[in-house]
């Protein structure tokens, strides 16, 4: 495995590459393509952290745990709540901040505050020609030139290898609590979540666990959480019996939703479907017999556990959105494709951008994003 220690070394390795490169951070998310392994884990360390400016700059290979520890010391956090894929995928190693950004990994709070890409302020990366590029910066408002920061987030290492990222961070609220609305009906649950999210009470998590019910989370100062939970209780009372989860129970439940713990160590393929929240009940109804699911983001994110080698994409075809095959054996991944094929005009743009940033097609080459 190649683990460059500097941006220059990274650039030299890409220039010298003669075949495909499997670009990764800590290698915990299973998204690297085939080829010689190239990891950014050697580019590690927090370069700048200004709590008063809500800004942190770190090299791409910095472990997420190191960043979270530094933030916790100042009562701050990564608000987009990045998922840890290790339990679900059975991987080991250290998730890195570069991997989080390259895969645009977000958690339950994404529905309220935005995704990883919404918190990325700047990047440095080396493209497929070995060119070192910076874009954005370390300030919250920046419209100087094109926003390649967003483009790099969620490009899965196909446009370049991240060497540094600058992020916006947020204060960590004093406490949290949740309400569980006891309903087993997915339509009823999604309607309840929409009511909560459409209220002025700033719901920061909205999930449905079919064997438990619809769950909404509130975070903030103690008095505020207590007031908002009461107000939400009044709004959502009509949807079912309501149970209140205190801070500890709430935190543990949301961590399990974030990491999709209920599908860990279970046989079957795992899919991640992104649709308009109100389409979730119809998508769920079209799932094959025996499939299990849970909803996050008010229904906008559907996690599915189903029999191996089942293609779920036909089922979501009537709806706008896409399905990603997150866990499956190599053969299934090759056969069904990890990512949803794009419409031809969009695919042409995607392929055009990839050809410009990686003309030799080396970076996570077989991790095709487009059709």
């Amino acid at each position: 495995m190649m683990t460059p220690r500097s941006e220059e070394e990274l650039a030299a390795m890409i220039v010298a590459a003669r075949g495909p490169l499997a670009v990764q951070g800590g290698g915990t998310r299973g998204f690297a393509g085939a080829g010689d392994e190239l990891s950014s884990a050697g580019l590690s360390g927090i370069d700048l952290y200004e709590p008063g400016a809500l800004t942190l700059v770190a090299r791409a290979g910095t472990p997420v745990a190191e960043i979270e520890a530094a933030l916790a010391g100042e009562n701050q956090r990564l608000a987009f709540e990045p998922m840890d894929h290790r339990a679900l995928l059975g991987t080991t190693g250290q998730p890195t901040i570069g991997g989080v950004m390259a895969a645009n990994v977000s958690g339950p709070r994404r529905i309220a505050v935005g995704a990883a890409r919404d918190f990325a302020l700047g990047v440095r990366f080396v493209d497929g020609s070995g060119r070192i590029v910076k874009n954005g910066g370390r300030v919250m408002k920046n419209v100087t030139g094109y926003d390649l920061v967003k483009l790099m987030c969620g490009s899965f290492g196909t446009l370049g290898v991240l060497s540094e990222v600058a992020m916006k961070v947020l204060p960590k609220p004093e406490t949290q609590a949740s309400l569980v609305i006891g309903t087993a009906d997915v339509g009823q649950a999604v309607a309840a979540l929409a009511r909560g999210l459409g209220s002025p009470f700033e719901v920061t998590g909205a999930a449905f666990l079919p064997d438990r019910g619809a769950v909404v989370r509130i975070e903030g100062f103690e008095a505020s959480v207590s007031y908002r939970l009461g107000a939400l209780h009044a709004v959502l009372g009509g949807f079912g019996d309501i149970e209140r989860l205190d801070a500890e129970a709430s935190q543990s439940l949301w961590q399990s939703v974030r990491d999709v713990q209920r599908f860990a160590e279970r046989a079957g393929d795992v899919w991640r479907i992104s649709v308009k929240p109100s389409d979730a009940p119809s998508v769920v109804a079209a799932l094959p017999e025996g499939a299990e699911y849970l909803l996050d983001w008010g229904g906008g994110l559907i996690w599915v556990l189903c029999a191996e080698r089942t293609d779920l994409r036909a089922g979501i075809a009537p709806f706008a959105g896409h399905a990603t095959l997150v866990r499956a054996d190599a053969q299934t991944r090759a056969q069904l494709g990890v990512f949803q094929p794009e419409a031809p005009a969009l695919g042409a743009l995607t392929n055009g951008v990839r050809a410009r940033f990686d003309p030799r097609g080396l970076l996570n080459a077989r991790r095709t994003l487009a059709a």
Binding site: E50, G137, V139, V143, T144, L346, V353
Partner: protein, 482 residues
């Protein structure tokens, strides 16, 4: 400001072009009379003017596609225009271009409360998006000061911000999908009601691309339920540095205000003379606003004032009512008008790390003396987005040039301090030639490579964003096959 020489071959074929456009648009949507095209000669950066060859006002995605295909085939540059409120010259025409205005496309296509989205045609004004949903308790969060007039199309092109970004983000954080027409007429749907992009985040790079990648005809925007209430506190300090430290301490304390606005002495004095809002006589003034229920607001303002007291404020005024809130905001909201009353002004838009605030303000003060031009500073302190207003006299020969030179120095200072040239107004022509201060040629090449993919002939708004010498080789293309 240098603009490319108009292409004589394009100018020579004006009548042929107009004839073709009239086949796809109604007669009143094609403006080619020299007296009438002058209405499109500039945007809000009025120092630069140039009437376009033709202006068109399509009313649908299909018409936009037809217009672009024709212009593509004729090799004619196209400058898209929202409402023409750009302060950076984003919609400044060239003499050989077609201005494509989206003003006739202003319908609400769909309002969807369960999914908290609204889909609109891009010519709709920012404020009227909120107008379409506010009766039901919802709003569209990005709030540029021009929101009464500015179009969503322009907001997307410039990735516009506003005063409430600290909590709600800017346009890109509230944009979920677009219908984009490419220069060759191809229509692409990107994103929509689902939350994240499949494939590359093209939406993210389209937002803020200043009309250079395509023309957005429809947009899906996130809407939010309005908070129960909002109230500000006003605080005055006898030192800029202390005010800056107070901002940092508020943020560190875990309170996330919806807005933190900052005004310095020249600006306070000008607005007092103009609006008489009753601001204290001090060096620096902060307006900090929080949201929630009445009790939640009291609690948060209490925490904020406790922090402020540690910095010995000369004044601390908590709003207890809508009337008091309006009075506190009055001066801030009339700041630009107040400065304009004194003289012509140029409004800058650099962003700096909040920690560099005292240093940057001190340097701007020194430079103001060196250039002999007054400056007032009013800005969004929570996110470091500065708006220095440099006063000059447009009727005095050389004053505009002096002001521009001063402005360029201030923006370079912002970059040196770890910030950027523009936080929310965009590059346009105004900051085009300063791009080398922030980016290397490799950085710019990576950005221009994206335009190469979307618009290989470089016909869409070609003379903006990138320094002319950086984009020369791409812009100077043979006229399309004839």
């Amino acid at each position: 400001m240098e603009m490319p020489t108009p292409n004589p071959a394009v100018l020579a074929r004006k009548s042929q072009l107009v004839a073709r456009l009239l086949k796809v648009l109604p007669a009143d949507a094609v403006i080619s009379d020299i007296a009438e095209t002058r209405a499109y000669e500039c945007d809000a950066l009025t120092a630069y003017k140039c009437a376009p060859m033709v202006a068109v006002l399509p009313a649908s995605t299909q018409e936009v596609s037809d217009v672009l295909r024709i212009c593509f085939e004729e090799g004619v540059p196209v400058v898209p225009r929202g409402s023409g409120t750009s302060l950076a010259g984003g919609a400044l025409p060239t003499a050989d271009c077609v201005i494509l205005g989206v003003a006739r496309m202003n319908d609400v296509i769909e309002t969807d409360y369960p999914n908290r989205i609204i889909r609109v045609q891009s010519g709709r004004t920012n404020l009227s998006v909120t107008g379409a949903v506010e009766e039901d308790g919802f709003f569209y969060a990005p709030d540029p000061s021009s929101q009464l007039a500015c179009a969503i199309a322009g907001n997307i092109a410039m990735n516009s911000g506003g005063a409430h970004c600290l909590k709600y983000g800017v346009t890109t954080n509230n944009l979920m999908g677009v219908t984009l027409v490419q220069m060759d007429g191809t229509v692409v749907e990107i994103g929509g009601g689902h939350l994240d992009a499949g494939g590359l985040d093209l939406l993210g790079v389209i937002c803020g691309s200043e009309g250079q990648l395509g023309v957005v005809t429809e947009a899906t925007l996130r809407i939010l339920h309005k908070p129960e209430g909002a109230r500000p506190v006003l605080m005055g300090f006898d030192d800029n540095e202390v005010a800056g430290a107070c901002v940092s301490d508020i943020i560190k304390a875990g309170v996330l205000p919806v807005a933190i606005e900052f005004m310095d002495r020249p600006c306070i004095e000008a607005t007092e003379a103009f609006a008489g809002a009753g601001y204290p006589d001090c060096e620096a003034l902060l307006i900090v606003e929080v949201e929630g229920s009445d009790a939640e607001i009291d609690d948060q303002l209490g925490r904020i004032m406790e922090i402020a007291r540690r910095h010995n404020p000369v004044e601390l005024r908590e709003s207890k009512s809508a009337e008091e809130s309006a009075r506190i905001w009055l001066g801030r909201k009339s700041a630009f008008g107040a400065m304009g009353q004194i003289n012509d002004y140029m409004c800058l838009d650099g962003t700096i790390p909040v920690s560099s605030l005292p240093f940057v303000l001190r340097r701007i003060g020194e430079m103001s003396k060196e250039y002999g031009l007054s400056v007032g500073n009013v800005f969004h302190a929570g996110d470091g987005n500065m708006h220095p207003l440099i006063l000059f006299d447009a009727n005095k020969p050389g004053d505009l040039e002096l002001c521009e030179a001063f402005g360029a120095e201030v923006l370079k200072l912002c970059v040196e301090a770890g910030g950027c040239l523009t936080g929310e107004h965009g590059v346009g022509i105004e900051k085009r030639d300063l791009m080398y201060v922030q980016y290397t040629m490799d950085d710019l090449e990576a950005q221009m490579a994206v335009k190469d993919v979307f618009d290989p002939q470089w016909l869409l708004n070609p003379a903006k964003v990138f320094p002319l010498d950086a984009s020369d080789a791409r812009r100077i293309v043979p006229i399309a096959a004839q």
